[in-house]
Symmetry: C2
Subunit: 122 residues, 2 copies
């Protein structure tokens, strides 16, 4: 457990958003000037492998990461602002499992992203 890994885990734990590797690198540099971007990428891959963090590949953007401590959830992306909103629906999850089962499959994992736009204020 190196110092750079500790800093990265800390930054991800305290993050309220879903930063990408470059942004995370910037944040890590605050406490650890000189940390390499390669280390960020390498560490993120390692942490993902251990299930400590999740990687998301939203449309037309570089990979974004979040700490895995919160339970499972899916994402809505505001196409105008880029803001990411988390949400969760047991009903949808159940339906997904049913659909897969009907076709003879088990779900290993899934990905559901809603690209949304704020409703016009009436």
């Amino acid at each position: 457990m190196t110092r750079q890994r500790a800093v990265l885990v800390a930054k991800l734990a305290e993050a309220e958003d879903h930063p990408d590797a470059v942004e995370l690198h910037r944040r890590a540099e605050e406490e650890m000037p000189g940390i390499s971007l390669s280390t960020v990428y390498r560490t993120l891959s390692a942490l993902e492998g251990q299930g400590v963090i999740h990687r998301h590949q939203f449309e037309g953007a570089s990979a974004r990461f979040e700490h895995a401590d919160a339970g499972h959830h899916d994402h809505m992306i505001d196409v105008d602002t880029g803001e990411v909103i988390e949400f969760c629906s047991d009903r949808i999850e159940r339906l997904q499992a049913e659909l897969a089962a009907e076709l003879g499959y088990d779900i290993v994992h899934h990905r559901m992203e809603l690209y949304v736009r704020r409703k016009p204020t009436s």
Copy 2:
């Protein structure tokens, strides 16, 4: 409407699978040796812009394309074989719209992919 564009549209219309740009290039070369990969990419982007085809970015793979003539559907990806299975669920679509609406959003488009494994045969 150039010959290369016609070939590409034809190849996509007859495709039963979801080829990526390189595979499509290979298929196009059968009828049009010398067609450039850049042209394939450029044409695919143009066709996508016109809504003629759809682009999918599945996990850890290059973009894959399909003709848009079939109605809307989502995808299951067999993580062992890479096979892509199409499916559709109005109930899930409705739930998604409801969830977005509850949070004050309209859905622009969405992406739902189930990464699955064939059920063990009992």
